[in-house]
């Protein structure tokens, strides 16, 4: 490209996972790391690109990717070639060899450290995130998905369109229980308090239990163990933003792997059908589309050909909260300016 001319198709550039910089003529490369995982060779390549084409600095993004700023628009093609190693090592789907990332709409799939590292995780978050990335990428629709190992939700899945929270069903072996009550104590202090002691043994309120399996972690005798099956809570359509930021709300609990995967993949057909053709940069949060179509229609699409596992429970109707800034942004009570307060 001629360095003096800035005749650049920004639409194409953005789709190719480059950000438009406020510095005219510069861009930033967005490195996709599904599940928030990167091998050292790829990491070294990020460093090499930043050194050679950028300004020697790298941004760590909120969605567990890397962003290399300060790249000259003229170098995009070369940077794409350099990205090839990372794209291959990370197993990210690609359309053109040496062509960089083929899409940027569907954001990097986030995952907490998961069972490979974390004592509390109920499944392999990274593996599931990478499997989903394989299934949905590349895609231009603006979809945010995150996986977290337990209901601590360290991955902040509740700010995503699809939040997948790991669950285990605690299995209780009465004969191994000595009634030390540590499960009861920790469930109460660090979780929801779903356990109580009845005649020296433990009773679990199955409806209250969130499947965090803290009881399993804290049981000193292996009276509590995790179910062989991995289960998931699916939370829907959380978001940040100017108009109506809100937490994702519960949609499913005790769902199995296949149910979760199908539901996520199904959302793209819904977006193909109902995305506002006039949406700015053809992107809008899915929640606003659901406001137009109604939840029933959304449900019809995401549940297409899904036969949930028998244990899976589904929320029939969902109501979201959050502040509606488009309806007013007053502070709720006793608003005052600090400088004008009464002594």
């Amino acid at each position: 490209m001629n360095k003096t001319s800035l005749d650049t198709n920004l639409k194409k550039l953005k789709k190719n996972a480059f950000r438009v910089s406020k510095v005219r003529g510069e861009t930033a490369s967005r490195v996709r790391c599904p599940g928030g995982e990167i091998d050292v060779d790829s990491l070294q390549r990020v460093v090499d690109i930043a050194r050679k084409y950028g300004k020697g600095m790298v941004n760590i993004t909120n969605r567990q990717g890397f962003e290399i700023p300060g790249i000259d628009l003229a170098d995009v093609e070369e940077v794409n070639k350099a990205l090839q190693l990372i794209i291959e090592n990370r197993g990210v789907n690609q359309e053109d060899y040496n062509g960089g990332y083929p899409a940027s709409g569907t954001r990097n799939v986030v995952a907490c450290p998961g069972k490979q590292l974390c004592p509390f995780a109920n499944y392999d978050t990274k593996k599931f995130a990478q499997e989903i990335d394989k299934a949905i990428f590349p895609n231009d629709h603006h979809v945010k998905i995150a996986f977290t190992g337990c209901s601590n939700d360290c991955a902040h899945t509740r700010l995503n369109d699809f939040g997948i929270i790991g669950m285990s069903e605690p299995q209780y072996n009465k004969d191994r229980c000595v009634g030390c009550e540590q499960c009861v104590k920790y469930c109460k202090k660090r979780s929801v308090g779903a356990l109580k002691v009845v005649n020296g043994k433990i009773e679990r309120d199955a409806n209250k239990c969130v499947g965090c399996a803290l009881c399993v972690n804290y049981c000193p005798t292996r009276a509590w163990t995790r179910s062989k099956e991995e289960y998931f809570r699916v939370v829907l359509l959380g978001r940040t933003g100017k108009k109506n930021p809100r937490m994702a709300e519960d949609f499913m609990r005790w769902a199995d792997h296949d149910t979760v995967k199908k539901v996520i993949c199904n959302v793209y057909a819904y977006l193909d059908e109902y995305l506002d053709k006039a949406a700015v940069e053809s992107k809008e949060h899915i929640g606003y589309i659901v406001d137009r179509t109604g939840f029933e229609e959304f449900l019809k699409y995401i549940m297409k050909d899904v036969t949930p596992n028998p244990k899976c429970e589904i929320q029939g109707r969902i109501y979201w909260g959050g502040k509606r800034y488009d309806q007013g942004n007053e502070l709720r009570q006793s608003m005052f300016r600090f400088s004008e307060r009464e002594e």
Binding site: K115, P119, A121, N122, Y123, G149, S168, K174, D175, R176, C177, V178, G179, C180, Q182, V198, N199, G200, A213, V216, N217, Y218, C219, P220, T221, R222, A223, T225, R226, K228, E230
Partner: protein, 339 residues
């Protein structure tokens, strides 16, 4: 008398033994560990030697066969009691040398400590015989050599699994027929014992009363979370507590249970009136450590701890009991030098 078997031949030995005995052995329980997709090795009944974990030390000890984690002792109605039934069939327990030494400690506490023997322990104990699992290597964190529990000849038969072959030394005459009929080759067999350990432990000979309030225990007040895992996995811990249960449908009938207790866990030293004798985890650690490597010896002439190392491996806070013994020993020397 010694025998060498292929695995399938040895399973015939087990089959023959099973006409009289049940076989209780360390078993790898897949997925039953603390964390997702971690395992635990604990004792269970087996029929085939492949189902036994003979390589790694079990996380929980054999003692569950003699003092179940939770055991119903008797049932009561308004004016009658009935002892709980138990499975009286004889059992062969596969265990390592350290654990066979641990049995002596359990026997001491339940049947050689004061005028009365523990009836519930005895009835379980009488049906149990022990088979030795030979040790090809020292277990992680173990210090059996320093505790003198690395060797034993008190076993019905021994098992050493080496390169897919099972080597047995049979001492129990009653069981000999089962071994002779399985087709193995006769040979001179010596079970393997560990004779060298990486980690050395030195016990204090005398512990003076100054150590009772020594600041060395404060570290454990800060580090220990009083979960009691060290006690529950210990092959020599014998404490239990009693639960009297009144059935919810009819509060006039119920049962008395005993469950394993831990001197580290809250409630252990609570007494009527609300007094707690050992409040801090440091005090509890002191009690446990001194009981294992000093107080028991004062009473019975030998130390309670057998050095299996399970308590080190299981501690979620990485507290090393073995290292604590060494610290204690060093502290005892320091204090006595300053007197």
């Amino acid at each position: 008398m010694g025998f060498v078997y292929k695995t399938e031949e040895f399973n015939k030995v087990l089959e023959a033994l099973e006409s009289k005995y049940r076989i209780f052995a360390p078993v790898l329980k897949v997925g039953e560990g603390r964390f997702r997709d971690t395992d635990v090795i604990r004792y269970d009944y087996i029929s085939r030697i492949e189902d036994a974990e003979l390589e790694e030390r079990s996380d929980f000890s054999f003692k569950e066969i003699l003092m179940p984690l939770s055991e119903t002792m008797f049932y009561f109605t308004e004016d009658e009691i009935k002892e709980a039934d138990y499975d009286a069939r004889p059992v062969i327990v596969l265990m390592r040398s350290c654990d066979i030494h641990a049995v002596k400690r359990l026997d001491q506490m339940y049947t050689g400590n004061g005028p009365a023997n523990d009836w519930f322990y005895e009835r379980l104990r009488d049906r149990v015989k022990f088979a030795l699992i030979g040790c090809g290597k020292a277990c992680p964190n173990s210090f059996c050599v320093d505790m003198g529990s690395n060797k034993t000849d008190e076993y019905a038969f021994s098992i050493d699994m080496i390169d897919g072959k099972v080597y047995c030394d049979v001492k129990d005459k009653e069981m000999l027929a089962a071994f002779e009929g399985a087709g193995g080759a006769k040979d001179n067999v010596e079970p393997r014992f560990v004779t060298e350990a990486e980690f050395r432990v030195e016990r204090p000979e005398e512990v003076t009363v100054e150590l009772f309030k020594d600041p060395m225990w404060d570290e454990y007040t800060k580090r220990c979370v009083n979960c009691g895992r060290c006690n529950f996995v210990c092959p020599t811990c014998t404490c239990f507590t009693i639960q009297d249960i009144f059935y919810t449908d009819n509060g006039r009938v119920g049962e008395r249970r005993r469950v394993n207790a831990s001197c580290m866990v809250d409630g252990y030293t609570d007494v009527a009136g609300g007094l707690v004798m050992r409040k801090t985890n440091g005090e509890r650690m002191r009690f446990k450590v001194l009981h294992k490597v000093y107080d028991f010896r004062k009473r019975f002439g030998y130390d309670m701890c057998v050095g299996c190392g399970r308590c080190d491996t299981v501690c979620p806070e990485y507290i090393s009991f073995a290292n604590c013994i060494n610290k204690l020993n060093a502290r005892v020397k320091e204090v006595s030098a300053n007197v």
